[in-house]
């Protein structure tokens, strides 16, 4: 790039490989979006040009040492071209079915359990306990939420029962991880199977494994009075489920608690250097127990959302279907930070929502697209987004002397 020795601020910026790489990724996304509503460019030239620019920027970053980011941007450019060109070749009618404002709404539908799960993971892991049992805690929330709502005749009871069940299961994990200093991955896996067993057993015992009565009390949607009728925004956020809004609030609260309060400082200290926390009189065990149990309750909320939230009061065996693990990936993607994890959850939610709409084009391709969130998960875990740094003592049992 040094041949372009122009004294131009934009060029100067782009000569920094990092900026070039990030710009490349952004352009890669743009390449695909120019062909979609509301812009809907109809000539394949636009996505191709933008995509090539993205690839060049990516290449320049990669050749200057930033390999991951650079090749990532290069790939984003190519994918942008392919998707963009495909979009220009499909009918406008199809496009507007898939890419409507309600796509945003359905992104929130799919991301909400992940938001709860990832915040749950953040609390647990920031205190130093790896919580791979999120999946099971979510599943407990899903089943016992529906049970509580059914027997208690109120979704509020359902939520309470769900949180109680999630918290109890988390307590089991905490006991093994903190008290017995067992391996936390093994313990978490055991907890997942335990949840599968418990919910499976009671689902069969209590509901014969199928008939949850119709008309179970469900968590209401929030209909925003005026905004509902606005263009674009209305369909997007005008009538979301109550728990969706709660999940937004939870992100802010999580950030606030962890980074703005004394208790948050102590939680992070336990996850980074428990002995240091111990020597200033912080009760490491108490903090970790508290965080893991809280983690279980939050994960259960995400599960309850699946059954009595958008699920409309239905339950099926193993209803969570791996969402707990994806939430974990979102947490890692977001570098153990609330807003980062939120962004990752939205991305996963978006890709799922998209996958659900693609049958408008071709059924077989859509099935393939349903793997998108999992592919993103792999990418996240492989650390393409830059090196993620877990809390230093994450997963390490603490032993007082």
């Amino acid at each position: 790039m040094s041949t372009f020795a122009l004294d131009n601020p934009v060029w100067n910026r782009l000569r920094d490989p990092r900026t070039a790489g990030i710009a490349g990724i952004v352009l890669g996304v743009v390449a695909c979006f120019v062909a979609l509503p509301p812009i809907t460019a109809r000539s394949p030239l636009y996505p191709v040009l933008v995509g090539i620019a993205a690839a060049i920027l990516g290449l320049s970053a990669a050749l200057r040492g930033l390999r991951r980011l650079g090749w990532g941007a290069f790939a984003a450019g190519l994918i942008g071209i392919v998707l963009g060109v495909l979009a220009t070749r499909s009918s406008e009618g199809n496009l507007s079915i898939v890419f409507t404002a309600s796509l945003i709404a359905s992104m929130f539908v799919f991301s909400t359990p992940l938001v709860f799960g990832s915040m749950a993971g953040i609390f647990s892991e920031r205190s130093g306990v790896v919580n791979i049992g999120l999946e099971g805690m979510m599943l407990m929330g899903a089943f016992w939420g529906v049970y509580g709502a059914d027997k208690g005749k109120s979704w509020a009871v359902g939520i309470l029962v769900a949180m109680l069940a999630g918290g109890l299961l988390a307590l089991v994990h905490a006991y093994f991880a903190i008290h017995l200093r067992a391996d936390q991955i093994v313990g978490g896996t055991a907890v997942n199977f335990l949840a599968l067993g418990i919910t499976g057993y009671f689902f069969f015992q209590l509901y014969n494994g199928q008939d949850i009565p119709i008309g179970v009390s469900t968590i209401p949607d929030v209909h925003l009075p005026y905004i509902r009728h606005w263009k674009y925004i209305g369909p997007a956020i005008g009538s979301l489920n109550l728990l969706v809004w709660v999940s937004f609030a939870l992100v802010i609260v999580t950030w606030f608690v962890l980074f703005k309060t004394p208790i948050g400082l102590r939680i992070r200290a336990c996850g980074e250097h428990p002995r240091a926390a111990d020597t200033v009189g912080i009760n490491v065990y108490a903090i970790r127990y508290g965080c893991v149990v809280l983690s279980g309750m939050l994960a259960a909320l995400g599960g309850a959302y699946l059954s009595i939230g958008f699920g409309g009061g239905a339950y099926t065996d193993n209803m969570t279907a791996g969402r707990g693990f994806i939430a974990l990936a979102a947490m890692i993607f977001g570098n153990w930070r609330p807003f980062g994890a939120f962004g990752a959850a939205l991305l996963f939610g978006f890709s799922t929502a998209l996958a659900y709409r693609l049958p408008a084009y071709s059924g077989s391709a859509a099935t393939l697209f349903q793997a998108l969130p999992y592919v993103l998960t792999l990418i996240a875990v492989a650390g393409v987004v830059g090196r993620t740094v877990p809390p230093a003592a994450d997963g390490k049992p603490y032993k007082k002397q």
Binding site: P262, T279, A392, Q401
Partner: protein, 507 residues
């Protein structure tokens, strides 16, 4: 200093499985005094202080604060009673700021629930002004030097209102300049009426700073003496129980062929900064070459490069006549390199392994440890037992976990392993860090003996004393370049000047 006693420890006994770490130890501390605690490695100093700080419970004995009995269930109780401790390994969190580390557990609060970051920084600034301990409250711990980290650790104790301050081997990791600064701080704290318990293996430091000195030997208290009348020799004798040679005698070197040859070496650190910039030197059979320098001038990178632990940017390394290009650590070891690494806990030992396993770490796959891919644990234990005796490792047998040994004894295990494999070239990086005088005497003598065996020894140390007393030739490393080469008869001042870059700026 007054005669008022702020602290009395009476008849403290603490047993660990297989060892009595403290045996009926009594200690009293006056208001406004610096009380030094001396003793060999594993004598029980850290244990005694951990009891005082509420981390261990004594099996027997009593604590009196200002004449009143006190029982500490946890560090929290001790902190509340006005006791502060700066641990041998600092208890600081690298990813947090100075202010956050200092207030942790005792945070100032604003509006009922909020962490008052401003207020915390303000308090830290006040404290740091009051005691003359300069720190930047907003800096991350990971970004500041070890000397600054220590100031943070001291401030952390003062923030909690410590009246009795325990400093466990505070100078072991400091450069001489930083140590001098620390003494200034200790003096001003003493003038402020605080009492300080000071643990160190460096007798000259103890004589410089302490008012009274208590000596422990093998868990028992030997004596408490006042500084007046004490000498390095008398203290060393009290510690070890026999006369100690504080300086090694060595015949002049009979250097042979060069065994280690480094030519125009360039090495980068993890952040991509060039730390070794065109270094060339040779170490011949039967000589000790010392590398002097202030910490952070490229010593670690140089050693890592030679040991095959860090990528070489350019240049060559020749070991016993073979040029090794981009050799792995294993290839270097097989070529005849012994390496006593500078950080025993990270690089030297697997703390979770037993002593026997640690000793077998390099040669576990070869006879007599193993044959046809089959390991013979009995052989490991036997070999470990011999070495434990030969190198006087105390506090455990072949099957004890390395992590339970005291710092100094851990070091001896590493040294034993490296010397026992009969290397042609031996790199000794900070070989005596944390060792007591007796152990230092032993190790120094051993290095001189190894020299006589015809090994080439490269000694890297921050202790100028050590370099001067052991080396046949001395190289001075400054900002990644060799700025001076001297015979053994060079003066301390001359090297000191070069270490600070005096020569280069003058030229």
């Amino acid at each position: 200093m007054t005669d008022e006693l702020v602290l009395e420890m009476r008849g403290i006994t603490k047993k660990f499985p297989g060892i009595v770490a403290n045996d009926d130890v009594s200690l009293d501390v006056r208001k406004g005094e610096v009380h030094a605690l001396l003793g060999e490695n594993g004598a029980g100093k850290s244990t005694l202080m951990n009891i005082l700080y509420g981390l261990y419970k004594p099996d027997e004995g009593q604590l009196l604060l200002q004449g009143k009995p006190a029982v500490f269930g946890s560090a929290k109780d001790a902190i509340q009673a006005g006791i502060g401790m700066v641990h041998q390994h600092f208890m600081l969190i690298p990813v947090m700021t100075v202010a956050e580390n200092i207030v942790l557990g005792n945070e100032p609060v604003r509006d009922g629930v909020l962490l008052d970051e401003r207020g915390a920084e303000e308090r830290v600034r006040e404290l740091s002004k009051q005691y003359g301990l300069a720190v930047d409250p907003t800096a991350l711990i990971a970004d500041i030097t070890v000397g600054q980290q220590q100031r943070v650790a001291i401030l952390k104790a003062l923030y909690r209102g410590a009246e009795i301050l325990i400093l466990d081997e505070p100078t072991a990791v400091l450069t001489p300049q930083e140590a001098t600064e620390l003494f200034g701080i200790v003096r001003s704290l003493r003038a402020d009426g605080k009492s300080i318990i000071f643990i160190s293996h460096k007798l000259n430091e103890v004589l410089e700073i302490a008012d009274r000195i208590t000596v422990l030997r093998r868990g028992k208290k030997v004596a408490t003496v006042s500084r007046e009348g004490a000498t390095e020799e008398s203290l060393a004798r009290a510690m070890v129980g026999r006369d100690v040679l504080l300086r090694v005698d060595k015949p002049p070197a009979e250097a042979g062929e060069p065994l280690l040859q480094v030519d125009d070496l360039h090495v980068f650190d993890d952040r991509g900064i060039e730390k070794v910039r065109g270094v060339s030197f040779a170490v011949r059979a039967g000589e000790i070459v010392g590398i002097a320098g202030v910490d952070g001038n490229g010593q670690s990178e140089l050693i890592d490069a030679i040991a095959g632990l860090r990528k070489i940017e350019s240049g060559t390394i020749e070991l016993a006549g073979r040029t090794l290009e981009h050799a792995t650590a294993r290839e270097m070891l097989d070529a005849g390199l012994g390496h006593i690494p500078e950080d025993r806990q990270v690089r030297g030992l697997v703390l979770e392994f037993t002593i026997a396993e640690n000793i077998a770490l390099h040669d576990y796959a070869e006879p007599p440890d193993a044959k046809w891919g089959w390991l013979f644990p009995k052989k490991l234990v036997e070999r470990a037992r011999t070495l434990i005796r030969e190198f006087d490792v105390r506090g455990g047998g072949p099957l004890s976990r390395a992590g339970t040994l005291s710092g100094g004894n851990q070091q001896k295990v590493v040294v034993a392993r490296e010397i026992a494999r009969d290397p042609r070239v031996l790199i000794a990086a900070q070989p005596t860090r944390g060792l007591d005088v007796g152990a230092i005497e032993f190790l120094h003598r051993r290095l001189v003996d190894e020299r006589a065996e015809g090994r080439a020894i490269l000694l890297v140390s921050l202790e100028l004393d050590e370099i001067l007393s052991l080396s046949d030739r001395i190289l001075v490393l400054y900002e990644g370049e060799l700025v001076g080469e001297h015979g053994a008869d060079v003066s301390e001042e001359e090297i000191g000047l070069e270490m600070l870059g005096g020569r280069r700026t003058a030229a």
